[in-house]
């Protein structure tokens, strides 16, 4: 989607606060929102692409006016409601109507889940469409759905830098339409290709892009 989250190349966002001692959380509620989001995810009712889409799928003024963990929290709350983990009535009253009969992971299981992670990499059963060194054109994709093609590289020509192997395709996975296994590559764009004369001649941007986003360069 063409959301406010797709920030690469925008002007006017101001200077960076480079303070190396800036804390990871600035208030207790941010800690709790972070932990609740992760803990709710352990129920497996949604995947990382669904949750990314839920965070990004906000009207741009709301997205830009919200702090980071505010976006996380709102998405977690919405996903919990949409998937029936909680009801609107329960949320409004704070009174549970039902209680889960499967215990949530205890701290030790949580530690094990974090250590194991959940790779989006899939068995290498799909052939790559491109190989390193090949020139590719990024399809000019405009969709209200979830996608991981940043706007700044759409319609631009780059070179396959490396093939990362086969990965879950977020565009379908975010919408419950399967993993659509395909290769994901680092595609290298010269700064000049992306930004014209504003870029330095010897600078480059490498973007991770899936097969479905690409076609052979003309």
């Amino acid at each position: 989607m063409n959301g406010a989250h797709d920030m690469g190349g925008m002007h006017g966002m101001g200077p960076i606060d480079t303070d190396p001692d800036d804390p990871l959380f600035h208030a207790e509620w941010e800690r709790r929102a972070f932990a609740v989001t992760l803990a709710l995810g352990f129920h497996g009712r949604w995947n990382i692409d669904t949750s990314r889409h839920a965070r990004e799928n906000r009207p741009p003024p709301e997205y830009l006016g919200s702090s980071y963990y505010e976006l996380w929290f709102k998405a977690a709350e919405k996903l919990a409601l949409d998937t029936g983990l909680i009801t609107a009535e329960e949320l409004a009253t704070g009174v549970p109507r039902t209680v889960s009969d499967t215990p949530p992971p205890d701290p030790e299981r949580v530690a094990a889940i974090l250590r194991k992670g959940s790779s989006a990499r899939l068995p290498d059963t799909v052939p790559p469409r491109f190989k390193a060194g090949e020139r590719v054109l990024v399809r000019d994709i405009t969709t209200p759905r979830h996608t991981r093609v940043p706007r700044y590289c759409r319609g631009r020509v780059g070179t396959i830098d490396r093939d990362h192997g086969v990965y879950i395709f977020p565009d379908t996975h975010a919408h419950g339409e399967g993993t659509k296994p395909q290769h994901c590559y680092s595609v290298r764009f010269t700064g000049r290709t992306l930004w014209g004369d504003a870029a330095r001649e010897n600078d480059a941007v490498l973007v991770d892009l899936w097969d479905d986003y690409l076609e052979p360069a003309p």
């Binding site: 920030m7 480079t18 701290p107 991981r148 990362h164 879950i168 010897n202």
Partner: protein, 220 residues
């Protein structure tokens, strides 16, 4: 701005951790509290697990992990070769595995190339080696400009890169998580792994700065 606390200066004085300047609008803090209470009552989350999650990323997993990986790569050429060839496996040799680091890529800074990592779409970041991202990494100013004006961004961090050095920006839009292997600082030839790890900062492994040069032992 998203993820930038200074925009929440209009606090209502209810900072729960004593940081009044960072206090959110009160209704949001209350909503978070209410949801957590409901989820606990419904037995959907375990409060001890929430505490453990926070403790893990606030105190146990952080850039010290990445620093150990870098120091090993500086002192052990065979390890460095493994790291650049299959970063996930080489990092797992330290036991650093899992969430948001399932599939790792390490990119090496050299006298010819300076690497910089960003996620323009959200906040993708290698948790097992760096912990949770700093606020600036998730902020609009960094995400918007790292790809467009990387040298300007580097200058804001006090990092000058010579004109003839290529700046290579990695936009981690997929599930690969990137770690920059900074250049080993001059004057560190006699240092062991542990001492070297102290020179490796979080920011140098994102690529916005270089590793610290030791105060003593500067090259003549």
């Amino acid at each position: 701005m998203a993820g930038h606390h200074h925009d929440h200066d209009h606090d209502h004085g209810q900072g729960e951790d004593g940081h009044a300047h960072a206090a959110p609008p009160s209704p949001l803090a209350q909503r978070v509290k209410a949801l957590e209470a409901l989820l606990v009552a419904k037995k959907l989350v375990d409060p001890a697990s929430l505490d453990a999650l926070i403790d893990t990323y606030e105190h146990k997993v952080g850039p010290r992990n990445g620093a150990r990986v870098v120091a090993r790569a500086w002192t052990d050429p065979a390890y460095k070769a493994r790291l650049l060839e299959d970063a996930t496996a080489a990092i797992a040799e330290f036991g650093f595995t899992g969430r948001q680091g399932e599939d790792m890529v390490v990119v090496e800074n050299t006298p010819r190339v300076h690497n910089l990592v960003v996620c323009t779409l959200c906040s993708c970041y290698p948790w097992p080696v760096l912990g949770l991202p700093p606020v600036w990494y998730k902020s609009a100013p960094y995400r918007s400009r790292a790809v467009l004006d990387p040298r300007g961004v580097l200058a804001e961090f006090g990092t000058e890169v010579a004109d003839d050095v290529e700046v290579r920006v990695w936009d981690s839009t997929a599930e690969l998580r990137y770690l920059v292997l900074p250049e080993r600082p001059p004057g560190t030839e006699a240092m062991g792994e542990e001492e070297l790890a102290d020179l490796v900062t979080r920011d140098s492994m994102i690529g916005v700065t270089r590793a610290r040069t030791p105060v003593r032992g500067e090259p003549a």
